[in-house]
Amino acid sequence: MKVRFSPLLATGTRTMVPTLVLFSLYLLVVGHDIPGGGFAGGLIASTALLLIYLAFGHHGLHRALPVDPEVITGIGLAVAIVAGLIGLVVDQSFLAYAYAVIELPLLGDIKVSSVLLFDVGVYLLVIGMVGIATTHLGSERT
């Protein structure tokens, strides 16, 4: 990726982005039990994208994430609605929820909640939304 403004920012971004993305996914997964969730996770991931944008510009962002933010927003909303529809089909009620505890070797008991899919939708939508704001309010697409 071509460095756009400052080598310091570029290096910092390269170091931090993987950690930020990982942390955002962590927040997304654990949100049901400790502080976090789709919204907070999505915001962290957005911060990572914003850093890439500031360090490497529009093209850099596009290379790191070759999907239009509008599309991500749409997918996010669709995923959340699908999560609701699953509840409708399985449990006769839109956005109905359930959870199960699965025992995995090595990892022990893992709790899987149906609302995780809903939260994934929120997560994607927040990323897409901040992406839209960044790419449109930022410098012209050149």
């Binding site: 400790i34 969730g37 927003t73 909303l77 956005l95 909640s113 609302v115 939708g121 897409g128 309010l137």
Partner: protein, 770 residues
């Protein structure tokens, strides 16, 4: 479950049979098939499209043999009492025979009418959607199910009127039709809600068995009438129907004469057993029907376009049916409905043939078409004779029965009006036939090409049925009697009675009027414009103009374009209204302690200092950063109150906001310009002070209000059941997931807004640029 709802469940018959439901769903399935595979099906598409009509007819014929009167009930939204209920009774059989039978003929006709296969496919797809709606309307027993089917026909009608969407006139007509009919439809929905509340049931059969009374019921009926009258083109809403003639002729024949415009009549027929005795019914329905009958008949005389003539004729005939229902003669009205569907559909299809064959529908241009298309001319003569009430056509038999009833009941005023309008009907029936097939005004011969034989099947068959039912009307008579619960006898030869004398008089006078108009030309009649009468079209255009004017004015006032004003109004409104509600708890708020935790005063100082500094600095970027300081300090307060979720979110939002600010500010001047002039300094200070005081008061009151601990306990136990320990998140994703979904939808909409807004500004710049 509410009490009402429990009662509904209790009283509903448990109809577990589904054949009607499946038949109606079949139309929709085939519509999708036709639409999706039209390209591959090619010329076989009409065969596929005809299938659901044949199946529906077969199912109905099979069901009609049993005596059951079950209702197929399909719960949809049980909490709201919304269900789809389809009645298996004589009313459904008769009306379905009309809807599916004529629909089948229309499909056959369309095969010849549309030369272009792609066009034919999309036409048939929408026709099938429409039929599903119409078949649902005529067999519905549930009010809200009926409403849904009703609006399916509205939307399908809109798309079919605007089928030639390249033409501006077609689009305008389609818009007019949908605006008029959906306005009525909305009024009707309100009427249904009122009726349900008054009657305690959503089932039409239960409603008419135990009809509610009183003022609210009268209001409800008035609203339902609005829906029925707009749909069935009753005066003064009749003007959309002539406009709807922009539709392809098979659609006009089917929707705008044989079926859809009958939906209002059908609804009145459904409700009549329970409400026909009430005052509002008798007066409103009868008066409107009689007026419409006369207005339509008069207008039909003055048309050069064969299709418009038929449209006004339809308006008049619909008025006839409405008037009969108003007087309580539902069986006669249903018989007239069947007769009208048969002859009017035939006439429309014939006009469509002539239009395709010669390229015109203007009676001033058409010349001696009858000698070219003899079979069509005979079918046309039969249909026109039925409309005029000439024996032995079905039209004669039904009109005769209506006259007989009116004379027996001594309803002289309606009788006089109907007889008068019937005279005009005879006249325009003659004008139509001679206009279409007779010798023209010019000697100039007209080019006429033979068209597909598929376009002749429908008219011939409909004309045949008109004669057959006219000769043997007894079975139809007993069917309509069973359907409406009102005894009526349909006979070809009623004997020498006053009704027969009246029929003869009407025919003779009608022929007189016809011969005068034929000889001297219909130009001798004045048009509505000549008489300076307000026309429906004029009123419609005026209301649209007024609506736009009001919208423009309101927008001008509300959207001043001044950012400070927007902020002032928003802030005042947001804070003022809730503060008023909370002002009751003022005492507890005043006695609240200064702080709970020593960190609070420190954070308060940081927040205040940041906020004050933000108003004083001259550079935009500095102001944005100072706002960030305020935000981070607020995060500190959340930490102090041990709300880690809110603190985390606030922290992230604050960071992103500052970063996004930085992006935008790079395009703006570094320093603030002159203070805004749209709002004076004093006004700005006043709004700011107001906002500060009310925000403080609101915060104080909210935090000191007595907390209901049971809510907290409920959430905690609920979270456990939902399998989460972070209650905040469980609320967001489990308990109030619908709210969250709403919020993210707003967020997505805002994203689309940003993209569209910035995109349009960029495009403009590119266009304005060099």
């Amino acid at each position: 479950m509410s009490k009402h709802e429990a009662e509904w469940r209790h009283r509903r018959p448990a109809g577990a049979t589904v054949p009607l439901t499946i038949s109606i769903a079949g139309y929709l399935v085939v519509a999708v098939v036709v639409w999706g595979t039209g390209r591959w099906l090619g010329r076989w598409i009409a065969v596929v499209a005809a299938l659901p009509y044949i199946i529906h007819l077969a199912v109905v014929a099979w069901l009609a043999r049993s005596d059951g009167h079950a209702i197929e009930l399909l719960e949809w939204i049980p909490d709201l009492g919304v269900a789809i209920g389809l009645r298996q009774d004589a009313m459904t059989w008769i009306l379905t025979a009309v809807v599916a039978g004529i629909g089948l003929l229309i499909v056959i006709y369309s095969h010849g009418y549309f030369a272009d296969e792609a066009k034919r496919a999309s036409f048939l797809a929408w026709l099938l959607v429409f039929t599903a709606g119409m078949a649902g309307v005529v067999s519905s027993d549930e009010l809200f199910g009926l409403f849904v089917f009703w609006e399916i026909t509205t939307v399908a009608s809109y798309l079919l009127i605007g089928f030639d969407h390249q033409k501006a006139a077609a689009r305008a007509s389609a818009l007019q039709a949908i605006l008029v009919t959906t306005s009525g439809g909305l009024a009707m929905l309100a009427g249904f809600v009122l009726l349900t509340m008054e009657g305690g049931t959503t089932s039409i059969s239960e409603l008419v068995a135990n009809p509610p009374t009183g003022t609210a019921t009268s209001v409800a009926l008035g609203l339902v009438f609005l829906g029925a009258f707009t749909k069935s083109a009753q005066f003064p809403f009749h003007f959309w129907l002539p406009g709807a003639m922009a539709a392809p002729t098979p659609a006009s024949a089917y929707l705008h004469s044989a079926t859809m415009v009958k939906a209002g009549i059908v609804l009145l027929l459904f409700l009549a057993p329970g409400f026909a005795e009430t005052g509002i019914w008798l007066w409103t329905v009868t008066t409107v029907g009689l007026l419409t009958m006369v207005v339509g008949a008069v207008a039909a005389l003055r048309q050069f376009d064969l299709k418009l003539l038929l449209a006004y004729g339809t308006v008049s005939q619909l008025g006839f049916m409405v008037a009969l229902i108003g007087l309580g003669h539902t069986a006669a009205a249903l018989a007239v409905l069947v007769a009208h569907s048969l002859f009017k559909a035939a006439m429309f299809l014939i006009v469509g043939y002539i239009d395709k064959a010669t390229g015109t529908r203007d009676v001033r241009v058409l010349n001696n078409i009858g000698s070219r298309f003899k079979g069509l001319a005979v079918a046309g003569a039969v249909a026109a004779a039925s409309m005029a009430g000439v024996p032995p056509m079905l039209g004669f038999v039904t009109k005769e029965a209506a006259f007989d009833l009116l004379i027996k009941k001594q309803e002289w005023v309606p009788l006089a009006v109907i007889a008068g309008a019937s005279i005009l009907t005879v006249a325009y029936a003659g004008l139509w036939w001679f206009g279409a097939f007779g010798p023209g005004r010019t000697e100039e011969p007209l080019q006429a090409k033979r068209k597909s034989p598929f376009m002749i099947v429908g008219p011939i068959l409909l004309a045949t049925l008109t004669v057959v039912f006219g000769l043997f009307p007894a079975s139809l008579g007993s069917a309509v009697s069973e359907a409406t619960g009102e005894s009526i006898k349909l006979v070809l030869w009623p004997g020498l009675k006053p009704a027969l004398a009246l029929s003869t008089l009407v025919l003779a006078s009608g022929l007189g009027v016809f011969s005068i108009l034929r000889r001297r030309g219909i130009e001798m009649l004045p048009t509505a414009r000549d008489l300076h009468l307000p026309t429906g079209d004029g009123v419609y255009a005026w209301s649209l103009r007024t609506l736009n004017l009001v919208a423009d004015t309101a927008t001008g006032v509300v959207q001043s374009g001044s950012l400070p004003k927007y902020i002032a109004v928003t802030v005042s409104a947001v804070l003022f209204i809730p503060s008023m509600v909370w002002a009751f708890n003022w005492d507890a708020a005043i006695s609240a302690p200064w702080f709970h935790n020593p960190a609070e005063p420190v954070l308060a100082v940081v927040v205040s200092a940041g906020a004050y500094a933000a108003t004083r600095v001259q550079r935009r970027m500095a102001a944005a950063l100072l706002l960030g300081v305020v935000g981070y300090a607020v995060t500190g307060i959340y930490v102090v109150y041990s709300a880690p979720d809110v603190a985390l979110t606030q922290l992230l939002i604050e960071t992103l906001t500052v970063a996004l600010f930085a992006l935008v500010l790079s395009k703006l001047p570094r320093r603030f310009g002159e203070p805004p002039r749209s709002l004076s300094r004093a006004a700005r200070i006043a709004v700011a002070a107001f906002a500060g005081v009310f925000a403080t008061a609101a915060a104080l009151i909210v935090t000191t209000v007595d907390k209901d601990e049971s809510v907290v306990a409920e959430y905690l136990s609920g979270a456990e059941a939902a399998g989460g320990t972070n209650v905040v998140n469980v609320i967001l994703t489990n308990f109030r997931a619908m709210d969250t979904l709403g919020e993210i939808t707003v967020l997505a909409a805002a994203g689309v807004g940003i993209a569209a807004l910035v995109g349009s500004v960029r495009r403009q710049r590119t266009e304005d640029g060099p």
